[in-house]
Assembly symmetry: C2
Homo-oligomer: 143 residues x 2
Amino acid sequence: MKQSVSLITLGVSDYERAKAFYEALGWTVALNIEETAFFQANGVVLVLWGRDKLAADSGIEDDGASWSGIALAHNVASREEVDRIIEQARANGAAITREPSETFYGGYAGVFRDLDGHVWEIAHNPGFGLGPDGSVILSARSQ
Amino acid sequence: MKQSVSLITLGVSDYERAKAFYEALGWTVALNIEETAFFQANGVVLVLWGRDKLAADSGIEDDGASWSGIALAHNVASREEVDRIIEQARANGAAITREPSETFYGGYAGVFRDLDGHVWEIAHNPGFGLGPDGSVILSARSQ
């Protein structure tokens, strides 16, 4: 198995509401097929799809949980950008579960949950190399 | 907010067990810091970290759920590769929630859950462009 993640699908309870949320954060849908929104990110594709369909398609019994232990991180080049994105998420109805603050790893980050509870850490980590497309390149760390 | 996902952190209940699982699937840790494993994937970085630490760090009340509605997809170039990886996951203790079969989108896929319940679809989708690093490039679809 190659080390790759091709798509990240977020199950959503209200498709239009979820799409509007990500669009309000500045994301643009690349492909829209029958209530499935595909956003092109840095190599990986972010997908919004009905949670019920995702559960059925995956052969999973949905336990109606709000958190299964996955967090997505969106790394940025400055502390100011962390503050700005957290405010943008808050203004669009996201719950801020951690206000932007210093992190134990010497960075600065805030955390929000989107309207379906999916967790996003918005982080500035000076210890990581950050590509122009937002990709963290671990090998850049030792440069 | 730029369209990017920098890291995907999977909360795990037993760090050594989780790391051994991904290593058995062929993944190699790029960076190991205090029971945190960083795997370099295609731009995005996959991280294994204690679920309790991830919850605390994210300001989240852990509801102990097994599924919150996120699925990761690992796309491959052939049906045979789908079969091979699903068997590899099964041999390492993963639950196969969908045996490899035809999909509604004209592809072929199987789904497993890792030892902490995180959902992976292993998919061959002839309708998507697939980069050499496993990235799905949506624009390639219209070529």
